[in-house]
Subunit: 348 residues, 2 copies
């Protein structure tokens, strides 16, 4: 039945949203295990919007593991993909698809190869956490396919091996990545602080300043910062732990003023340590600066924060409005300050 | 002889170059006395180039102290001008101009008013230390006019009351502003580390990115940083003291590699604490970032630093080339990357 058996394909599709850190992760204490120098907190976006869709399939006809990202084949030879595949494979259990008449035993998984097709519905590697959504989705889909019965927290630790911030995309709502203490990283995983219903009046607007891929990858940038910045350790050890406590409190109490103040200052401090790196890393540009000024002036004029901003490893602004009305006003203001190009401009 | 005596005018003209900090001053521990949170080191420019020219004159015909900056009258009522005027007046001694037949006693100075005319031959308040050259020149000219027999270090402490960095413009070459410990600031003054001949192959090129006045004045910016940055104190207490020692050593040994590395990283760290301020302060813009990238890539390709960069409270780049040949190459590279506008562009 070898001929026959090679025809079957079993597949699973999953969709995972990206997440945006409001207390930033920047700097690893272990490069291979991807263990961070501080805790971080993020908000997971609505899966209807920025997300990765990944289909994983298995078939005896596949002679090697392969992956396609946005339709283009990419190499799976990197340590990060290999870590995730290895960790999930080692947790695979028996699968029995009665409808298709397929039986895969725990032992079979060691020999079977997978094909992975992943799509981002937003710019890749432009500082919008595409790798976070990507690895979280990959791990989740593989775990489902291979019937690996791990809870979300355990899966988050595996996704972390793919891309640190990916661990935070396994949950919705507000998520904390606990840095952990264990040398092997077993306690460096994500926990949910509050689910997506807890503070659902917040509206996130993403202003794409540039969809180009960033010049300095997060991995390289972080490594350079850890090696050269004289401010990073002070941030990681003295500043962030206090901010994490305050941010948890702000989220718990839906205290937008504190939330915004903490998110903005932490974003700025993350970019400050990038600038304190040798050679310096600039992720924000003049347009990012103008967006910050717009928000700062508005918040100052209103007497209390209306919008929080946060920037990841790129010039794109993630703006968090306190409610729908504020979000509508924000979009108005952005369109006024950054009018869309006329057709004439575009044809130049 | 009252009529007659009102006709005389006695005047003194002085010229003072600006200075560029290579280990930055940012943050005061005392706002009124202008006492800094850390030592700083600067290089004084050639007085033939960026400088302030100030003429101070005294006459019994003047009924109040007045000042003109670049031909426009400005108010002298600010505490900073008043401090400088008061300090120098209190040190005035007898003046006897035999040629003109003028005798002014120590007591007369209390009643006599001065007129001050000051010109900068470079953009004012654009982050090129115009106030440093300005106050140093004012204090120096007044001291000469009033025959205040103080040495340069004592004058530097008076100029400091006008603008902190002004104290460093009283000397040529490499200058250190010692922060001091005294609450009254008597020991917060400038000393010369090396004169202008010590390392005269260095060539300074200033790339004026914008001659517009800066949005955030240094005074306001510094105050905001002291009040809100969680990284500034770590910089001032832990990072700068070690850098000062290394920079003194680099200057002493004319060690350009260390000099450049220290100057660039300190400039970047100063801008990092600006970014860590709430609301954040951006002095550099995209063009500044491009200049930094150009220099970093060149230094990296050459294997050893050819040019150091440093940016003050504005987007303009101060570039220090290791020698004349490198400076010529630098200007070539700058003109290639930032070609001058054609006449057609200028007329648009």
């Amino acid at each position: 039945m070898a001929e026959e058996s090679q025809k079957w394909v079993l597949m699973v599709t999953a969709q995972t949203p990206t997440n945006i850190a409001v207390i930033k992760y920047w700097g690893k204490r272990d490069e291979t295990l991807i263990l961070p120098v501080n805790d971080s907190i993020s908000v997971t976006l609505d899966p209807e919007h920025l997300c990765t869709t990944t289909t994983v399939s298995v078939s005896p006809a596949f002679d090697q593991d392969r992956m396609w990202l946005n339709g283009k084949e990419i190499s799976l030879s990197g340590g990060r993909f290999q870590s995730c595949l290895r960790e999930i494979r080692s947790r695979a259990t028996d699968v029995h698809d009665k409808e298709k008449g397929i039986k895969i035993t725990k032992k079979d998984w060691e020999k079977l190869n997978v094909h992975i097709a992943s799509y981002n519905n937003f710019p890749t590697a432009a500082g919008l956490a595409s790798s976070a959504a990507g690895f979280a989705c990959l791990v989740f889909a593989l775990a489902k396919l291979m019937n690996a019965n791990e809870d979300h927290s355990q899966l988050s630790a595996i996704a972390r091996r793919g891309s640190g911030s990916a661990c935070r995309s396994l949950y919705g709502g507000f998520v904390k990545w606990i840095m952990g203490k264990d040398e092997k990283g077993t306690d460096s995983l994500a926990v949910q602080l509050a689910d997506e219903k807890h503070w659902d009046e917040l509206v996130i607007v993403i202003a794409v300043v540039s969809s180009q891929q960033k010049e300095t990858s997060s991995t390289t940038g972080m490594r350079d910062t850890v090696e050269t910045s004289l401010l990073l350790q002070h941030r990681a050890k003295e500043v962030v732990p206090k901010r994490i406590l305050k941010m948890e409190e702000a989220i718990k109490n839906r205290d937008f003023a504190s939330f915004a103040q903490l998110a903005c200052t932490d974003s700025n401090q993350f970019h400050a340590v990038c600038l304190d790196t040798c050679p310096p890393i600039f992720y924000m540009n003049d347009t990012s600066h103008r967006i910050i000024s717009l928000v700062e002036k508005w918040n100052c004029a209103a007497g209390t924060p209306q919008v929080a901003y946060t920037f990841d490893a790129g010039p794109n602004a993630v703006l968090i409005a306190r409610n729908r009305e504020t979000a509508a006003l924000l979009v108005q203001k952005l369109l006024f300050c950054f009018p869309p190009k006329s057709d004439a401009d575009l044809n130049r």
